[in-house]
């Protein structure tokens, strides 16, 4: 490693030797993973493999017991809290769609825009043309233009998933962590979501956690399979799904 270079790695997101345990249960066990800038990576793995916990670690919700977590090659994420990490440019979509249900779709996006997030800034906030144009654009991308004034709580499940992805877009982070984006979607919606993610990937780094193999296949990106808190296999979807151990883990043999 070059000492003179402040960037320890070229990776956008870099996890090395991460351990986390809850009351003796090893949720993450010597996990190492690197995401290159502009890459889209699909993470698969059975329940309890540590997928969501890994996202918790990256976004600062959970602090690892040991290990390195670097963002953009130089920023140590283990020392920062959620807000700071979000400000740096890591956005996250939750497993269960989490939108602000009692506010309108439009307001949801407005809240997500990466503008001044200080108390002063919001108290004396005035809308600008630029902001409303960006919101319009996002609304169009996520196909919710007609629903802009509806309460987010009244949206269908799939629409909520999209709204949350839209909020990520409005946030415009460098890295998007997307947890199960197509859970509960129809086939058509799933297909559209895959298209959406591919489109977003053009100028963002993305990490997708998903169970749906058809969807992962459709994304057509490098796949990492987690098991018991560490990486079991990595490669193209075909490589991974033909890996014996993966099959074993998935089928429980």
């Amino acid at each position: 490693m070059n000492v003179m270079d402040t960037r320890a790695t070229s990776a956008m997101l870099y996890l090395d030797g991460v351990h986390v345990s809850f009351d003796g249960f090893h949720a993450i066990n010597n996990l190492s993973l690197a995401l290159e800038p502009g890459e889209m990576r699909a993470i698969i793995g059975p329940n309890g493999a540590g997928k969501t916990t890994m996202m918790d670690i990256i976004t600062g919700k959970t602090k690892p017991d040991e290990g390195t977590v670097l963002f953009d090659g130089s920023v140590d994420l283990t020392r920062l809290d959620e807000t700071r990490i979000a400000e740096l440019g890591i956005g996250r979509k939750f497993q269960k769609p989490t939108v602000f249900e009692s506010q309108t779709v439009q307001d949801n996006l407005l809240l997500a825009l990466n503008v001044d997030h200080s108390v002063r800034g919001t108290l004396f906030w005035r809308g600008s043309k630029g902001e409303s144009e960006r919101i319009d654009k996002v609304l169009e991308t996520i196909r919710l233009t007609d629903a802009r004034n509806r309460l987010a709580g009244s949206l269908s499940h799939g629409q909520k998933q999209w709204l949350e992805i839209g909020m990520l877009l409005a946030q415009d982070p460098k890295v998007l962590l997307v947890d199960e984006p197509v859970a509960g979607m129809t086939d058509v919606e799933t297909h559209l979501t895959a298209e959406l993610l591919k489109q977003i990937n053009k100028n963002h780094t993305i990490m997708v956690v998903e169970h749906d193999m058809t969807f992962v296949r459709e994304l057509g990106v490098k796949v990492t399979c987690l098991h018991e808190g560490s990486v079991l296999a990595e490669g193209s979807i075909d490589q991974v799904s033909s890996n014996e151990r993966v099959v074993e883990v998935y089928l429980g043999r």
Binding site: F22, D23, F25, T53, D56, K61, T62
Partner: protein
Amino acid sequence: MLLSCFALPALAGPFEDSVAKFANDEFSDTEAAVGEVASSGNPLASPIISALQDGRLSADPGSKKVFITRTDGKIVDAASGAAVDKLPDGAAAVRLNNRLRRTVEAALGGLTLLSPDPAKRLAAAQSVFKSHEENLLPTVESALAKESSKAIKQAFAEARAAIILFKSDASDSDKLDAVSVVKARGDQEALALLTGLGGDQPPLVAKAAASAVASIQSNLAMWSMVQNAWYGLSLGSVLLLAAIGLAITFGVMGVINMAHGEMVMLGAYTTFVVQEVIRTRYPALFDYSLLIAVPLAFLVAGAIGVLIERSIIRFLYGRPLETLLATWGLSLVLQQAVRTAFGPTNREVGNPSWMSGAFDLGQITITYNRLWILCFTLAVFAILLAMLRYTALGLEMRAVTQNRRMAASMGIATSRVDALTFGLGSGIAGIAGVALSQIDNVSPNLGQSYIIDSFMVVVFGGVGNLWGTLVGAFTLGIANKFLEPVAGAVLGKIAILVLIILFIQKRPRGLFALKGRTVEA
């Protein structure tokens, strides 16, 4: 005894006159009468004076006659010992005040030093130790020589030492011996005796006494730490008892039950009703009243708990803060209902004999009621823990709290489990009320004084964890009792509250919080 009774009238004269003084209803005359009767040597003296002490001595001011109501209910004339059919109409119990009571105790001490009853002898020795009447020395010495029981012998020796210490003409060496006997006793009464010696002692004795005082004091100071720890445990057990039901309703179910204190109150009132029935119908059962009250209180409070759950709380699941408001309203209603039914004043709940009094362990006093409450609390805790772990209801309860939908799909009647869980928590609060009725007021306000403390205990210990509640209660109890002598009761309590606030900052989910993402999800 009979013989002397018949012989008495012939002797008559001064003794009769002395006895007649009891009928004057003047404390000074009564005091004189006690002295004269006690020193008369008359065999009736001891029965008269013990009757006086127990309030069984009555006098008729008209005829100046004095009567003893014997413990078996028979009535005799105090002066003659002759049996009497019934008390005359004007007769009233001879009155005592505290000074007289002390005189009576001392007189009785002298009279019963040689009693055949060992318990009376022990009491007599102790009363002589306190009164150190000089003229009793010969009696004490002869009693000491005759005594066979080791414990009573010790008491006589101490009584003798006390008399010698205060006897002006005793020799220095006797007094020094006496000091060491008293020093060996080492308790607060010994300290009181030695510090009360006065300045006219020979220098050698004074010095020995001073060093004995110092040694007793340092010994007592050490014991006071132990005592604080015991008080802390006992306060902790009260806190635990009050909080344990809440640990179920709040900790396990997540229902913020502000009417929890009222469940405790209902338990206490159940005890009152049980005792009232026993008092009027079956007085012999009084000592068992608490045993009867415990299951009844559990049923009463539990049934009301189930009723509350079915009629109010079940509509509010998932809205914890609204439950708080509704149960607060409920607590007002319950309080006022009890106030209307039983009146606003305190109700008397008696202590059964096995819960009264205290015993000494080393130099600390342990009161039976506190000890029993501690045992009782631990027993309730153990039973509850076992119930949650080993019974079907316990299993269902845990299943429902961990994953309601899953439990429902596995065929558990979740709404029944909810009702029973809430009933269980309330029932335990009712049991707590039985115990608390022994140390606190039984009034409509009873519950309110425990509700905040209970919440603090549960939150401090960690919601959803019974062991946390246990540790939390005892920690807070002991901390409180060690702070109290230093800071005073009020500041101590404030300090505890501030500590809890700061502690919650450090561990936002209490002492024994579950970690992991499931908790926060």
